[in-house]
């Protein structure tokens, strides 16, 4: 087990090194200069040069790369070109919106998907199943920002129950914050719930054909009892994998929803930073996301090995 862990750890370190280099190179290649962006079309060339010096953009690229990596090792992502505040603090502030939103959406999606998936599996081929399959097909097909706009139209403009967007901040009270995240979370959750419900249903149906289910039925359990007691637990493995994938998607992929609800989250930060060529912010956020995905994968690898001893010898 130790050897396996060390091997995985080495692969984690190599992945991070390669990722940082690729991220830096790809993002620095993008045409556009943060200093000329900030100074606009009336600026004199010498002013742009002065700002480049002030921002530290006139040093060679490899020096900037080493500074960036060196800083990150100490938990310091550097200073944003446009905002002139530490990137670490900016990301931290935004995570307070994006992380709760992702968790909220994932919770909603799970709460919707589980009962719906189980219901559809237990009614396989009947009307209820057909309705669920049709609705989730629609849920997968319709983009989340459309749900978002419809939700705003109904609940914010017509019913006036919610604000059309914005985030009051957690310091103004937990429920105020939760309320502001409710419509965005629903909009994010509906497509995810549709996917998850379909995975849940098909995974359960797979289990229903297994030998142990036949045995359970032979022992005298009803179809429903067998489903709850035996099939559900075994069907959870693919479902949990999907939930894990959805979480990283929700954390990084809510850019459009954050635009629609004008939430100060990570997605909006990336979007803004790209257009302003605030490269160091873009690089740092992407690096952070890559880091979290790699670390989660590392943990999952270890967990697989823990539950399935065959994996340890195979690698």
């Amino acid at each position: 087990m130790l050897r396996y862990t060390l091997k995985r750890l080495l692969s984690l370190v190599i992945s991070l090194c390669v990722a940082s280099l690729v991220i830096f190179m790809v993002i620095e290649v993008a045409p556009g200069d943060p200093a000329s962006f900030m100074l606009g079309i009336n600026a004199q060339p010498e002013t742009v040069a002065a700002l480049r010096t002030e921002l530290g953009l006139d040093v060679p690229k490899y020096v900037r790369f080493l500074d960036w990596v060196g800083g990150m090792l100490q938990g310091d992502f550097g200073t944003s070109y446009t905002y002139r505040t530490p990137v670490t603090k900016m990301i931290g502030d935004r995570l307070w919106v994006s992380l709760p939103l992702a968790i909220y959406a994932l919770t909603l999606s799970t709460l919707i998907a589980f009962p719906v998936g189980i219901y559809a599996a237990s009614r396989r081929g009947k009307l209820g199943d057909a309705v669920v399959m049709g609705a989730t097909q629609l849920g997968v097909a319709v983009p989340n920002f459309w749900f978002a706009m419809m939700a705003v139209l109904v609940f914010a403009i017509n019913l006036r129950w919610f604000s059309a967007g914005g985030f009051p901040g957690w310091d103004k009270g937990f429920f105020g914050g939760l309320k502001a995240l409710t419509l965005p979370a629903i909009a994010l959750a509906l497509p995810q719930a549709s996917i998850l419900a379909r995975v849940m249903r098909s995974s359960l149906l797979d289990m229903l054909g297994e030998d142990f289910m036949r045995t359970a039925r032979a022992k005298g359990l009803t179809r429903r009892q067998a489903l709850w007691r035996h099939a559900l637990r075994n069907a959870m493995i693919p479902v949990l994998t999907i939930i894990g994938l959805q979480f990283s998607f929700l954390l990084a992929g809510s850019i459009i929803i954050e635009q629609v609800f004008f939430l100060p989250g990570l997605g909006r930060l990336v979007f803004q930073s790209i257009s302003q060529r605030d490269l160091i912010v873009v690089e740092s956020v992407v690096m952070l996301l890559v880091f979290s995905v790699i670390v989660v994968n590392f943990a999952v690898d270890l967990a697989y090995a823990a539950v399935d001893p065959r994996l340890r010898s195979r690698t």
């Binding site: 993008a30 045409p31 556009g32 200069d33 943060p34 000329s36 962006f37 900030m38 100074l39 606009g40 079309i41 009336n42 600026a43 004199q44 010498e46 002013t47 002065a50 700002l51 010096t53 002030e54 446009t82 905002y83 002139r84 505040t85 900016m90 502030d93 706009m149 705003v152 139209l153 609940f155 914010a156 403009i157 019913l159 006036r160 129950w161 919610f162 604000s163 059309a164 967007g165 914005g166 985030f167 009051p168 103004k172 429920f175 105020g176 939760l178 309320k179 502001a180 409710t182 635009q259 629609v260 609800f261 004008f262 939430l263 100060p264 989250g265 930060l269 803004q272 257009s275 302003q276």
Partner: protein, 495 residues
Amino acid sequence: MSFINAKTSFVSAMALIAGMGMAQAANTDITVAMQLEPPHLDPTSAAAGAIDNVVYSNIFEGLTRFMGDGSVVPGLAESWTVSDDGLTYTFKLHSGVKFHDGTTMDAEDVKFSLDRARAEDSTNAQKGLFKNIADVTVVDPTTVKVTLSAPTGNFLFNLAWGDAVIVAPESIENIKTHPVGTGAFTFTNWVQGDKIELTRNADYWGTPAKLEHATFKFISDPTAAFAAVMAEDVDVFSGFPAPENLPQFEADPRFQVLVGSTEGETILSTNNKMPPFDNVKVREAMAHAIDRQAIIDGAMFGYGTPIGTHFAPHNPAYVDLTGLSKYDPALAKKMLAEAGFPDGFTTTLKLPPPSYARRGGEIIAAQLREVGIKTEISNLEWAQWLEQAFRGKDFGLTIVSHTEPMDIGIYANPDYYFQYDNKDFQKLMEDLNLATDPAKRTEMLQKAQRIISEDYVNGYLFQLASMSVAKAGVVGLWQNSPTQAVDLTAVYWKE
């Protein structure tokens, strides 16, 4: 039955969540939304209009200032005298003016601010405004003398720009995140990505603001902007991004729509050094191929004033030269043939992100196609546009709104991205800078407008309209935008 129960409980759960955290704003508070968030809050080291929107006149003030009608009036300078040769300006400052951190604003601060803006390592985006300043001398705490190297007719106008506001050496270090000025509002808080909050300055030296608190919110998506106004989440949306929605707000008694003028000349910029645009015949032909009103109607939903030269129509010195480039596709074709392009030609049309460019570009491409000019459209981000078109001069045509006030002088710089090189025009601009007599200046400005119009340097399309939506009870907002600003100092709620 169970379905109905589930539905009711869902609805009541939503209603419950909706009831949480409700708060009614008092009528001394205002929430102003705008599309772009400022990158930082130092108006003296960036071009972003969003910075001025928040800080101009609210937080920072200059020696002179713009009013909503475009006039330049005294600001921190109470009065001034100009020497007969036009080279020395002596400003008398208001006494008893304090910065928000309690330090006194005096002649030293004026010297510091002007010297900082024109310094070698200055990062002032409009450094050109200060290039004629030779020396700034402190005479006494409320008197400052500015000596120019050459007479500058526009000097007092230049000092009214947001880039020329007075800052203090004591607070300059953190100005980007914590601006300290002399204005009627003090900066209180900035939640980056979300909002900036200002509070009334109780110790303001002039007429105090009527509002107690002001919040700026940033909503970039046009659909979200519409929703935020309709849901009454915001009181004012300055620079409303979707002109197609304005009629709906006009018809709604809850709102008022403010449409005014800006300093933004929207032009079809033409690369004057790139063949075939180096031929004035070709440029003239192109001017006749463009139907301005169709662009204003199609891209801006009717908001915008046609222009025939690079000058704001609301300026008293404006000359209407739209007749020189009347829409006449047959004439355009004929002129193209005379210029040696009977079958037209192909060029590039590079479009930056604003909707006037993206929507207008499609219409112009169609109009040019009618006379045989084919365009390859590429949509660029601003950073790419600056790199390729503006700095690299790698474009045939592009559409940009030049929003700086009184910027006809850009035509005197042969290196400017559209590369117009006319010695007579350059001489005229030099003379204009030296002229201080208003009548003479007007005459020269009008001559300048004619020269560039008759040379068909660029396609002159329309003056960008300023479009804002506000709740019906809000009084005192600027209708026009002589400079980028959301001046809240005189804004209040009607009872």
